[in-house]
Every structure is written in structure tokens, then in C-alpha cells.
């Protein structure tokens, strides 16, 4: 029997996939993304580098500081400028807050799809605190457009450090409560442990990234392997697990959140007291002809921008390589042969954001 899941199905988000089932088992899966496609890369060719920033963050508005970070790094490389030191700290801080905010959103969805309503409400409510911090920083709640070529839009507001530290302290306590209520719940364990095994060899072969890769035992994190801006001065560990199942894929983001709290503390501590936060650039800045590929670690894994410039103020070609699109290949691989009832546990453990894959 053929089943069509989505695009307006509560189990898939804005994404459609066709599955064929034989009894209780899935025998064939065919992903069909594109229901929120908006011609993102083509539209970039019509705007200059600054105009592209609010446009580029639309695919993942919850992780907007990371998605614009990567593009800003690419433009800075093409133009040949260095961001002032204080600016580097502030943009790393924004990107960590943004990662926490995204991961909480994803965790809420994962909770509700395993039938755990509390795990939907708690992260969704805690996320408000982080949104509040980002709002103080940038003025906007979700579409921040904060990281721009040359640095960040503005300096941190008065009293921000204290507020940020207070929230991080509270948030770390909450992570322990998430463990108690969700990850140590026998039902959650039963539904995720040993389900959807993606071995290390398969993960490498499929070229997955982010938490999906690290849950399969490959300690690859762009912040560590290719540190950008101030990340080489920050002390943190790459979080990975070796069990390769849905539980590991759902738990690695939580380990990452703990590490993010640790990083935020160090960023606040080491940040220079004063200084410029951005290199002032002309609005219609021209980059030298050439091309570059810069990547950052986003909430869903490595996020790279391949930007080709012909010397005009607008990019000649922009190609985004995003975690969701790369991890999509693991979906048919894992679902084929598994039980229909395991579908939500496997699908959402891939940390998949349909809108980002469509671009």
C-alpha cells in the first residue's frame, strides 16, 4: 500500500514523502521536498551583499544568526576585511544564543511527536527567554539580521552581560530537568533506543552532518576543526555518541546545548570591554572577482556558502550547502525496513528542517 505523508500532515511539517508499506513495515520511501521553495539562490543574484542578509535568513528564522554568519564570512573573505575583535565576540555570542533557540524549537517538536506534551511546552516556553535576549541584542524577535558583512549591527545593550548570565544559569538547571522528564522516561527510551541505526560507515558514505553525524561516532564540528573568528580561543569539547540510534541523534543536540552554555560564559568573560563592533563598509561594496566557500556550524550541522563574484556589488552566484538537505539522504536509508510506528521517532531525530532544505 502506498501512503502519502504530508505536505500538510502533522507528522512531516511542510514536507512530503511517499512511503510504501508491506503490513507494518516500510519497504520504500521517496522524499519530495519543495513545497516551500522560494528560489532563494536565484534571488540573491538580484541584491547586493547587505540586501541579501535579511533575505538569506528566511529559510531558518530560528537560527538566523548562524545562517547569516556563514554568508558574512564569505563576503568578508571576498572583500578582504577583518572584523574588529569585539565584533567577533558579539557575533559568536549571537550565534550561540541562536543555536540554543533553534535546538529548543526542534526539541519541542521532537517531544510532541513522541506524544510527550510536557516536552513540547517546556522547551517552547524556555525558548522565549532566549528570544528575549536576541531581541535585546538586535531589536527583532526571530528575524534578527544581526550578523552582517563587516561585523554585527550594533553593540550589546546596557546590562546585557548580567541578564545573559542569569538566563544561562537558569537554562542549565532546566536541561537537567529535561533529562529527568524526557530522556530518562522509559517510554521515550523504548521508542528511540536501537531504532534507526545509522552506522559510522554509512554516515560517512551518505555525507551527513551535524548531530546526525556526531551521533554516529564521528567527532566533526566546524567550530573545532576549522575555527572561525574567536572559536580558537574558546575551550569546549565536541559532543558525540557511539550508539548510532535515534536516541543518540536526539541527545547529541542536548549535549551541544550544555556546551553552548559553557561557550557563552567564556565569550562574555573574554569579551573586550570596549572597541568597534563592525568594520564600516559602503552599502554597495564591491568584492574582488573570485570565489570562496565558508562554513560555520549551525544547529543542523555544517552550513556553507559558495559565493562567486564577478567584481560587481551583487554576487554572481550563491550556493548554500545546508545540513537539512544533506541529512535528507539518510531518511530513505533509515526508514526503509523499519516499522511504520517508528517513523516519527526516526524522521524528527534527523534534525530536519524542511524549509531550509527547500531554500
Amino acid at each position: 500500500m502506498t501512503l502519502s505523508v504530508g505536505p500538510q500532515h502533522p507528522g512531516s511539517g511542510h514536507f512530503r514523502f511517499t512511503i510504501k508499506v508491506d503490513g507494518d513495515y516500510i519497504v520504500f520511501v521517496d522524499p519530495d521536498p519543495g513545497y516551500v521553495h522560494r528560489g532563494h539562490e536565484k534571488m540573491c543574484e538580484y541584491r547586493n551583499h547587505f540586501q541579501n542578509i535579511p533575505h538569506l535568513e528566511r529559510p531558518v528564522i530560528h537560527d538566523s544568526c548562524n545562517i547569516t554568519y556563514s554568508y558574512s564570512l564569505a563576503v568578508e573573505d571576498l572583500v578582504g576585511i577583518t572584523v574588529p575583535r569585539r565584533g567577533q565576540f558579539i557575533r559568536a555570542l549571537a550565534s550561540e544564543l541562536s543555536r540554543l533557540s533553534y535546538t529548543l524549537y526542534w526539541l519541542a517538536i521532537y517531544g510532541i511527536f513522541l506524544g510527550h506534551s510536557t516536552m513540547f511546552m517546556w522547551p517552547a516556553a524556555d525558548r522565549e527567554l532566549l528570544i528575549d535576549l536576541l531581541e535585546r541584542l538586535s531589536g527583532a524577535r526571530v528575524t534578527n539580521a544581526f550578523n552582517i558583512p563587516g561585523g554585527v549591527r550594533n553593540d550589546i545593550p546596557y546590562n546585557f552581560k548580567e541578564k545573559c548570565l542569569a538566563q544561562v544559569n537558569y537554562f542549565e538547571k532546566r536541561l537537567k530537568e529535561y533529562d529527568n522528564i524526557f530522556y530518562n522516561n522509559p517510554l521515550v527510551r523504548q521508542r528511540t533506543e536501537g531504532v534507526g541505526i545509522l552506522t559510522k560507515e554509512d554516515a560517512i558514505k551518505l555525507g551527513v552532518t551535524g548531530s546526525v553525524l556526531r551521533a554516529s561516532g564521528v567527532p566533526f564540528d566546524v567550530r573545532k576543526v576549522e575555527p572561525y573568528d574567536v572559536y580558537n580561543e574558546i575551550d569546549f569539547d565536541v559532543q558525540y555518541m557511539k550508539t548510532c540510534d535515534s536516541f543518540a541523534r536526539a541527545y547529541v543536540p542536548v549535549l551541544d546545548m550544555r556546551e553552548s552554555c559553557h561557550i557563552i560564559r567564556q565569550l562574555l568573560d573574554k569579551m573586550p570591554e570596549s572597541g568597534d563592533v563592525r568594520e564600516k563598509l559602503q552599502f554597495n561594496i564591491k568584492s574582488s572577482p573570485g570565489e570562496t566557500y565558508k562554513r560555520v556550524e549551525s544547529g543542523r550541522g555544517a552550513l556553507g556558502y559558495h559565493v562567486v563574484s564577478d567584481g560587481s556589488p551583487k554576487p554572481y552566484r550563491v550556493k548554500a550547502s545546508v545540513g537539512s538537505f544533506r541529512n535528507l539522504l539518510a531518511l530513505p536509508f533509515l526508514l526503509t525496513g523499519s516499522k511504520l510506528g517508528d517513523m516519527p521517532a526516526i524522521y524528527w531525530s534527523l534534525n530536519y528542517w524542511p524549509v531550509e532544505a527547500d531554500r
Binding site: D32, P33, G34, H37, G39, E41, K42, M43, Y46, A203, I204, K205, L206, G207, T209, L213, V218, F220, V225, E226, N232, G290, E291, T292, Y293, R295, A302, G304, H306, V308, Y316, R317, K319, S321, F325, R326, L328, L329, D358
Partner: protein, 176 residues
């Protein structure tokens, strides 16, 4: 005094790291150029990035060499750029390595150019299974047919799309 000592150590470590990275890229480039000679052309070498331009007929051979001899085991992305003035479409594979920790930060851009009026290129799906969806996307966005790819068909665009591939330069957005 102690603080200064630590700082010095850190600088030394960073220098050593940079040197290793340069050595790696040099040995990689040397090994490719000695093996393939004029079949490959090094377009640029930056920190942790190199771009190699190859002829379409040598693409599979060189991709295989990169995978088997240097551990580049997956593609971060595969994309295309349209150059109507040269009547060519450039296909770029951004190759990375998960199995060789030395190459973790390194990305090789394997690049080839095909004829724009009849764009066909050999698929690398048998060498890097990770390019499956990227090549499908390039097929529909730029119209490049990948020989050997099992599914050169619609992926992201609407099913009833009847215009030219939208990432070609002569496709114009309405009203712009």
C-alpha cells in the same frame, strides 16, 4: 611571566598547525599534478581550500583517485554556475573527508566545465553516494544531465514547471 609563556606556546602551536595544513595541501596538489599532469589545472590554493579544474572525461578518474588515495569520502555540495558568455556551465563538487582527521578542515573543489547547449556530465554517484540529491538539484536548476545517475528528474521545482532551468542566467525573475 607564566602568562607570557603560555601565550608563546599557543602561538607556536598555531604556527605548527598552519605549517601542517600547508604541507598537507602541498602534498595533495603535488600528488595530483604528478599523477595527472596536464589533465588537471590548479585554479587556486587558499587556506584549507583548493580548486582543481579537470576535463569532463577525466572527472570520474580523478574523483576516484581523491577518494582512494587521500580519503575524500563525501561531497558537502555539488552545484553549478552558468557562464553564458563562454557558452559553458561549471560544475563544482566540494569534497571533504570524515575518515582522515588531518583533512577535516580541508575542502577540495573538484570542478569541470560542460557545453551549455548540450550539458552532460558523468555522475559521481557511484564514488560519492552523498551527491545523489545535489546532482538531482543541479539537473533541474541548471539543466545538466548526469550520465549514470538513476534519477535525473524533478526534485524541488513544482511538477508543472514548464520554463527553462531557473538558475541559468537568461532566466529572469518577473518584473526585475
Amino acid at each position: 611571566m607564566e602568562k607570557d609563556k603560555t601565550q608563546n606556546n599557543q602561538t607556536n602551536l598555531m604556527e605548527v598547525k598552519e605549517e601542517t595544513s600547508n604541507l598537507l595541501s602541498n602534498s595533495l596538489i603535488n600528488s595530483i599534478t604528478t599523477n595527472f599532469g596536464e589533465q588537471v589545472k590548479l585554479l587556486y590554493k587558499k587556506e584549507n581550500r583548493s580548486k582543481i579544474m579537470v576535463n569532463p572525461e577525466n572527472l570520474v578518474e580523478i574523483a576516484l583517485y581523491l577518494r582512494n588515495n587521500h580519503g575524500f569520502d563525501h561531497a558537502e555540495s555539488a552545484s553549478g554556475t552558468d557562464y553564458p558568455a563562454d557558452n559553458q556551465i561549471e560544475i563544482n563538487y566540494h569534497l571533504g573527508s570524515y575518515s582522515n582527521t588531518d583533512y577535516y578542515p580541508y575542502i577540495v573543489v573538484l570542478s569541470t566545465r560542460v557545453d551549455r547547449s548540450d550539458p552532460k556530465s558523468n555522475s559521481l554517484i557511484n564514488i560519492f553516494p552523498s551527491v545523489e540529491y545535489h546532482e538531482r538539484e543541479t539537473y533541474e536548476m541548471l539543466g545538466v544531465y548526469f550520465l549514470g545517475h538513476p534519477r535525473n528528474e524533478r526534485f524541488i521545482l513544482p511538477e508543472d514547471w514548464a520554463d527553462m532551468p531557473p538558475l541559468r542566467k537568461d532566466f529572469r525573475i518577473k518584473g526585475r
